[in-house]
Amino acid sequence: MANSNLPRRIIKETQRLLSEPAPGISASPSEDNMRYFNVMILGPTQSPYEGGVFKLELFLPEEYPMAAPKVRFLTKIYHPNIDKLGRICLDILKDKWSPALQIRTVLLSIQALLSAPNPDDPLSENIAKHWKSNEAEAVETAKEWTRLYASGA
């Protein structure tokens, strides 16, 4: 019922996500709500998150694609732009959203954010501070968390 009037664009995006997934990213819609996606992102190589499998949830609001999807990390992650609730500080998810962006591009951006944490625009003050004051140690913590929470998922 809820899925019957799913916009063509969402159907198309979903089909493409499933048929040609982006490397290191999998996104599959929930069976009972085609606007809700279960997402897995592999930690990028040469980042503190390497080897980790991060679960996220992604939801396409009613206004999508005129409004950004809502994305949240479900796996605990130590990252200056991600808070402990898994919320992500990423401009394209907020004011820089453009309808020309897609689920794929959003997830690729998040993957990129894992490679390049941006402590200057923090969501999690403490982690950002840690990152700025002692990056090596912060990276170690991030690796530790990846081992603890994001392995073998």
């Binding site: 019922m1 809820a2 063509r8 664009r9 198309k12 995006e13 009613e62 694609p65 005129m66 820089k96 453009s98 309808p99 020309a100 897609q102």
Partner: protein, 1006 residues
Amino acid sequence: MGSKVSDDHLYTVRSIVGSEFTDMDIIRALHLAKNDVTAAINIIFDTSTPKSQPTHAINKRRVSPPKSTPPTVTSSSKRNADVENKKCSVESKSIDWWFVGSGDVAGLSTCKGRTIKSGDAVIFKFPAKKVSVSPSPGKVFGRAAACSEIVRFSNEQDWEIGRIPNEWARCLLPLVRDNKVKIEGKCEFAPNVLGIMDTIILSISVFINRSMFVKQHQVSLKDAANSTDESVFHPLPSLFRLLGLSPFKKAELTPGDFCSNKRPFSQTVTSLHAKSERPLQNGHENETEDTVSEFDLENIVGVASSSELEEMDPPENLLCDLRPYQKQALHWMIQMEKGRPRDDTTTTLHPCWEAYRLADKRELVVYLNAFSGEATTEFPSTLQMARGGILADAMGLGKTVMTISLLITHSGRGGLFGSQPITQSFIEGGEVSDTGTIPNFANIPKKVTKFTGFDKPTKQSNSLTSGGNLIICPMTLLGQWKAEIETHVRPGSLSLYVHYGQSRPKDAKSLAQCDIVITTYGVLASDFSSENAENNGGLFSIRWFRVVLDEAHTIKSSKSQVSMAASALIADNRWCLTGTPIQNNLEDVYSLLRFLRIEPWGHWAWWNKLIQKPFEGGDERGLKLVQSILKPIMLRRTKHSTDREGKPILVLPPADMQIIYCEPTEAEKDFYEALFKRSKVKFDQFVEQGRVLHNYASILELLLRLRQCCDHPFLVMSRGDTQEFADLKKLAKRFLKGTCNASEGEEKDALSRAYVHEVVEELRKGEQGECPICLEAFEDAVLTPCAHRLCRECLLASWRNSTSGLCPVCRKIVSKQDLITAPTESRFQVDIEKNWVESCKVTGLLNELENIRSSGSKSIVFSQWTAFLDLLQIPFTRNKISFLRLDGTLNMQQREKVIKQFSEDSDIQVLLMSLKAGGVGINLTAASNAFVMDPWWNPAVEEQAVMRIHRIGQTKKVAIKRFIVKGSVEQRMEAVQARKQRMISGALTDQEVRSARIEELKMLFT
């Protein structure tokens, strides 16, 4: 070897001799008897000794009974042995056991040489519940029951004498096993010396356990509902029948009515059978296009002879006059809600139940549900039946107003019915003086009646908030309901709330406070699903006084979320409003009945067994039954219904239907012919390959192109797949050229040539792309100054304001003026503005509009293709015809605005409307002309659209004109429609693949 012992024989012998004998014994006997079963049985009884004697059964002597009382033996089962023979005697006078009655049974001897005398008590042995050891259950012949179902009886010495007939065993076994029933028996007559298969007359007395009635009530109903088992067998009613008990009050409806062949049928409804078979053929569910025609509908549901109904005046709070037939509806609806007078309902037996008087001295009465086999000692009254019904008046008769008058006349709070007979608002409104209209209200006894079994089982009814009226309608009608209530109801007499949107409150209290809550099916379904998670859903935590489903066929798919949600609502009164109670399938009715709680039809098992299956199998009784169910609960009048004096109930200004046949120009004809030839070649290929039905989508696509070409050749040139018709390009050129020469000396010759050249070039390259926003092929693409291509609509929709915004691709600021219409990928692959040429239909339409322009009457122009509406805007603008447009892209507010403006602004002459937008409910009586530009496969849809103007409120004469291009596929469509309207209606739609007759397709390609 004389013969091989067959399993059948083995099995037959086994069923007689019982399981004391081994297979080997029996096989040996059969050999000796040369496979003669009777002889073999004799041999066994004469020669063999059973391997095991039933010695473990201890036969207790009873307390010596009074003469008339038969020996008391009950059997209960245990699974400890292959053959279970444990018997125990119980006091028959126990208060837990009620004597039902006794009957004579013809038992069958299974022994030889033993004796039993008249008056001897017999002991019954019930087999344990175990899997039958039957060697080949599939081959069971005749009526032979499985071994495990044989009930044997012995004499007092515990020697087996015989067995009782299967029909008795079948009823008794489950009942005795569950300790619901016990039996006692004695011999009435037996031959002096028993032989195998001799008849022994037994008298059996049946006692029923009181506990059967204690918890049974709820459980069995559920069982019946969940049972997918087709063979619904209810032992208790069968047992009653065997005992010769007849109900002193019979059920009005019994399964026997439909299972026996006795009922004659006065009415044959043959036309429906083809209908019922179609879904099976298709193998998938029908979609909305597959509508049941008016004719079929009337066959199924009939039309009320409305002249018999009384009228009822609405209270003064209703600010409009009702027509007589609407007053009849009001009276009927009020009657349906009040039900029969209270005294009647409490003493009238529910039609599915029958009452039996037991033979017990305590004079007990037991009620049996003829459908579910359920038994109770409590009187099942009609009070538990639904209040409400189906108002199925045809479109345009004013169901909304009738319902509003009902809301005003009879209003209240859920759950308080009976304890508070006259409603709150009624008193507050000061209208009590008018009590003459509802005389029975004062007489209603002030006792609160339990509506047990109707509440959602998870919730206690008393935890629900009492609410007022809930109206559920499609989103498009939300505004109209609100507007109609506001205009027709005296301000201040009813509070109204529209429950819609993201921020709608979940709080039940605020919802319950309103007299009328309007919401959509979408909200209903979403509240329902969220309620399951959190259990605090707003709509479901209220006991409504009344729930009204507008366009109730929305819930027709019984498994859909919205249908289940509707059925889960708790309400005292329930109404379905629909012009099409059956849209595709008889099954549609099931959902409505489930919502209305018309017992027992809300249980799939019953519906399926007694109605759906027979109907699909071509048995008219299924249909007959539906008619008998619907008749009392449904009111249906059509525009052709007449009143007492035989006058039509609704007098509308006359409608003039006319078909305008257009003569195509030479250029158009050539273009069409070329397209047709190409299409026919393809079609013939499919026919040759015998793959017509496999390529159904492609064929419909071919037809679509041809039909569009009839509207305007530009529509065909516009498509991305024009490459397939590459040689058409020449014709396109010619068409354009012809245009320039023909139309009043426009000097765009050079430009258009260059342009067409470009189009051809682009096409050759096959350059295609997709809009980054909708991910579809470009439609009306624009180029930004930053060289990004997007659909115009997508781009503009992404902007906050209408004049400028960011490029979605590169975020550069772009203003609307800077946009360049991308030539190649526009909706039309020719620049329609610059190369505008009228097609014969457009010319015809413009002539018509010109003729009526001076009269000032408004017109609606329908087409099924929005692209054609786009095209029409060009000549309209040039000819200064002021118009508005209503299509599927508009949201609810925008639609309302357009309709309002069209109705109120006298300068607006034309409303361009797409089929999709023109669907249900919209009232456009401001217009008195309708132009149907292209024929639809389904005439019902066409009619529905035209009904937008020809309905209540229309004061002027209505002219409906349909355009058909001569000698084209359109004309053949007409022929096909006329020839086999029902077959084709809905079976062929543009998008949907349907299996229709190849013959008819061929007819289109002639």
